[in-house]
């Protein structure tokens, strides 16, 4: 091969690799974004029906039931409440009255089945998503009162 052809081959090969990699990456990226919704948004029907998403807020006091391996509790942003069920062991920092973020799917009857309950690693720590959900709900009620 002449040097010019060689250079051309390298450039074409490089661009092709980059193109394939970029397509692959963006494709996987699009289909794996997980969006976050507050309980109010879920109650208003803004959340997707089939796709997995995240929900965050506070675990309602006295709502946790743990008879079998399935745990049931209510996530609230102080305005709306969403019942959640999770099969498995809850993380150490899960407790009533504290913030929580869960990932899963919403069934037709408005119940959320979590596949993952996210563990945050400090008792004084509030997941930013959960904090945002509560703040949003507070703002909404304040506007209503005025």
């Amino acid at each position: 091969m002449k040097p010019r052809q060689k250079r051309l081959a390298i450039i074409v090969g490089g661009l092709a690799t980059l193109g394939i990699a970029a397509t692959l990456i963006l494709n996987a990226f699009q289909s794996n974004l997980v969006f976050f919704f507050t309980p109010t948004q879920v109650a208003n029907g803004e959340a997707p029906k089939e796709r997995a998403f995240r929900i965050g807020g506070l675990v309602k006091e006295g709502s946790l039931q743990r008879s079998d391996i399935v745990a049931r509790f209510i996530v609230t942003d102080t305005a709306k409440e969403i019942p959640v069920s999770y099969q498995g062991i809850l993380p150490d920092l899960f407790s009533e009255g504290k913030g929580v973020v869960a990932q899963g799917v919403l069934s037709a009857d408005g119940k959320f089945t979590a596949t993952e309950v996210l563990a945050k690693h400090d008792e004084n720590y509030m997941p930013p998503e959960a904090q945002a959900a509560v703040n949003k709900a507070h703002e909404a009620t304040r506007t209503l009162k005025q």
């Binding site: 091969m1 040097p3 060689k6 081959a9 390298i10 490089g14 690799t17 980059l18 990699a21 692959l24 990456i25 996987a28 990226f29 794996n32 974004l33 997980v34 969006f35 976050f36 995240r54 039931q65 743990r66 008879s67 079998d68 391996i69 099969q87 498995g88 062991i89 809850l90 993380p91 150490d92 920092l93 990932q103 563990a119 945050k120 690693h121 400090d122 008792e123 720590y125 997941p127 930013p128 998503e129 945002a132």
Partner: protein
């Protein structure tokens, strides 16, 4: 008094760092020998002052001085001594001090082991390191001093986060930081070479052992973090694609690319510009990692505090470092010669593909890590990118990388032919295909991913063994040769671990009442009950379980659920029976309603999981062999002999 001494030492260290970061650099540009000579003593002084500051903070921790805010927040009088010492880097301020201590240690090491380098080169390298150190010390003094007082002092401290009270924490952060900060040396060498205009093979040879040394620490640091997550977080996972993990993985990917690109620059004089860019990139990603972890933009175990001032400072610092080094690069790069030409089929091309694949992987990880942050910062909503994305992107990029890893070392520089590559490797290929296809059947059912992964691992090991056999026939090869093959086989070992545990692990959360038995991976686990015990600074519920094989007791299992006295936070302590081919992993969940003493129990069977970290250790050992190769020291012996001869002639 002690904290004030520490604070004062830090201020002095800032002044020394500013001197180290200015005079030697100017001296090297203008040719002023006295200013050039300042570089080495300045770096010793800098290390001494920061060591004093670090020692003062450690002393405050050991003495339980709760009038220091940082100590009050991260320690407690009941905390055992070893955790009071490791607590020094258990929070934001202290870990930054550790960062700077590591930086000054690297700077000192460069001063000590670079006797053979031209003095102006040393001066430039030390100058750049001094500037980086000045930036970080300024950051500590302005936004995050660990020596601030609390008046009046606290009765007792708030205690170290129980998750961090673990032997893993003693070693994980220092290792990781040594790696992060170590890339500053490669960066400093690159900038020094750009400044002096001597971007040549000698420069590549000087910076190779330093880059490899940093990479060794980073490899071990990431491995330790993964082990820690595995046994301490109570989830049994070894990698979560958590933003903080990604922050340490990004410099590793680019650093690995840099090591390979440096090889081309040293041996063939090619890829110079590319190598410089990689050195700048690896260090910038280390800084980005520090920013992500320390600014509080991420919600994770590592985000101890969120203070926007800190985030902005690091971001500005990052912008200055990246901006100025890229400007310098743009100014100098066109003058750099291109180096040796090479054919399409050559080791150069294979290493170029290695670089493209590693950087594509780094780019994909960077996208998945930063995208949610950017979207959130622009107020476009909250979202996250999950592990499926990373797995979907990472695997296809790694398959060709692993395949070519066996081919690269066989290929000759400049020009090689397919026959030259295929002939020595045909046996390895045959064995790899046969073993890859058959192993899944032996191990519990066909799986394409296991066949591919095991095939690739055997292909890499087979190719390395064949080359070692061929090479040792003609005398003992140098350490670098052993190092490369050991590191490559380490990757293969890690791949075996990942593939096997991903495919054949069993994870079950079950309800167990006393007397209940569950089966997992050929074993039975019997639950006997839970009893209360108390430790030095915690109370715990301790599970009594038995691991049985064919009805025979193998060993008792005692997972714990701890409640630390100083906090309401419970802690799951998993019990692991580790093994070469499998780990048995049990942890306690919660007591369940029903009145029969039942608990939720997590029972995991993890085949070959320890290979993941065993591979990392092999990679690090390989790096150690490569970095200690004779040819990096040859010149220094020659130089010393020259100096001695000169002295002899003078006297």
């Amino acid at each position: 008094m002690i904290p004030e001494i520490g604070s004062f030492a830090l201020v002095l260290a800032l002044l020394v760092a500013l001197v180290q970061g200015s005079l030697p650099l100017i001296g090297a540009q203008r040719g002023i020998p006295a200013w050039i000579a300042l570089a080495r003593p300045a770096s010793s002084m800098l290390f001494l002052l920061i060591a004093v500051a670090f020692g003062c903070l450690t002393a405050s921790f050991i003495n339980n001085d709760f009038s220091v805010v940082y100590v009050a927040q991260h320690s407690n009088s009941r905390l055992p001594l070893e955790y009071r010492i490791s607590g020094v880097w258990g929070g934001h301020e202290g870990s930054l001090l550790l960062w700077v201590l590591m930086l000054s240690l690297w700077s000192l090491a460069v001063a000590a082991f670079s006797r053979s380098l031209p003095d102006d080169m040393v001066a430039r390298v030390q100058g750049v390191l001094g500037l980086v150190a000045a930036g970080f010390i300024l950051f500590i003094l302005l936004t995050s001093s660990p020596f601030e007082r609390l008046l009046p002092g606290a009765e007792d401290g708030r205690d170290l986060n129980p998750l961090l009270q673990d032997p893993g924490l003693i070693f994980h952060p220092p290792m990781l930081y040594m790696g992060y900060v170590g890339f500053s040396v490669a960066f400093a060498f690159a900038i020094a070479a750009l400044l002096s205009g001597r971007l040549d093979a000698a420069w590549a040879r000087w910076s190779r052992p330093w880059t490899t040394a940093a990479w060794i620490f980073l490899t071990l640091g990431i491995g330790l973090g993964s082990i820690w997550a595995y046994y301490e977080l109570g989830w049994g996972g070894w990698w979560f694609w958590d933003p903080v993990e990604n922050a340490s993985f990004l410099p590793w990917l680019v650093g690995t690319a840099l090591i390979h690109s440096l090889a081309v620059t040293e041996k063939r004089g090619s890829f110079k510009n590319w190598t410089v860019l990689l050195a700048i990139g690896a260090f910038s990603l280390s800084l980005l990692g520090t920013f992500l972890v320390r600014s509080g933009v991420l919600s994770s175990v590592h985000a101890f505090a969120s203070d926007p001032k800190r985030g902005i400072f690091i971001l500005v610092f990052l912008a200055v470092v990246v901006g100025s080094s890229l400007t310098l690069f743009a100014w100098r790069a066109p003058k750099v010669s291109l180096g040796g030409a090479f054919a399409l089929m050559s080791r150069e091309t294979l290493l170029l593909i290695n670089n493209v694949l590693l950087l594509s992987a780094a780019g994909a990880v960077l996208l998945g890590t930063l995208y949610p942050l950017v979207i959130d910062a622009l107020n476009l909503g909250k979202l996250s990118v999950g592990p499926p994305y990373f797995n979907a992107v990472f695997t296809p990029l790694m398959v060709p990388l692993l395949f070519l890893m066996a081919v690269g070392p066989v290929a000759r520089w400049k020009h090689t032919s397919l026959a030259e590559i295929a002939r020595p490797l045909r046996w390895a290929f045959g064995i790899a295909v046969a073993a890859g296809v058959s192993i899944p059947f032996f191990y519990g059912g066909w799986s394409g991913s296991v066949a591919l992964g095991m095939g690739l691992a055997i292909w890499i090991v087979g190719a390395s063994v064949l080359q070692i056999l061929a090479r040792t026939r003609s005398g003992l090869p140098p350490r670098a040769f052993w190092g490369m093959h050991l590191a490559h086989m380490g990757v293969a070992v890690t791949v075996v671990g990942i593939v096997m545990v991903t495919q054949y692990e069993s994870e079950r959360d079950v309800r167990m009442a006393p007397g209940d038995t569950v089966k997992t991976g050929g074993y039975q686990i019997r639950f006997l009950g839970v009893e209360g015990i108390s430790g030095p600074n915690y109370n715990a519920a301790r599970g009594n379980l038995e691991l049985l094989k064919d009805g025979q007791l193998v060993m008792p299992l005692h997972p714990e659920k701890r409640k630390y006295l100083s906090s309401a936070m419970p802690m799951t302590e998993a019990f692991i029976d580790p093994g070469l081919t499998r780990d048995i992993y049990v942890s306690l969940g919660d007591p369940l309603e029903g009145g029969d003493g039942a608990w939720s129990v997590r029972v995991y069977y993890k085949p070959f999981v320890s290979w993941i970290w065993g591979g990392a250790v092999l990679m690090a050992l390989g790096g150690l062999l490569a970095a200690s190769d004779r040819r990096y020291r040859l010149k220094s012996t020659a130089a010393r002999a020259g100096k001695l001869a000169a002295q002899g002639a003078a006297s």
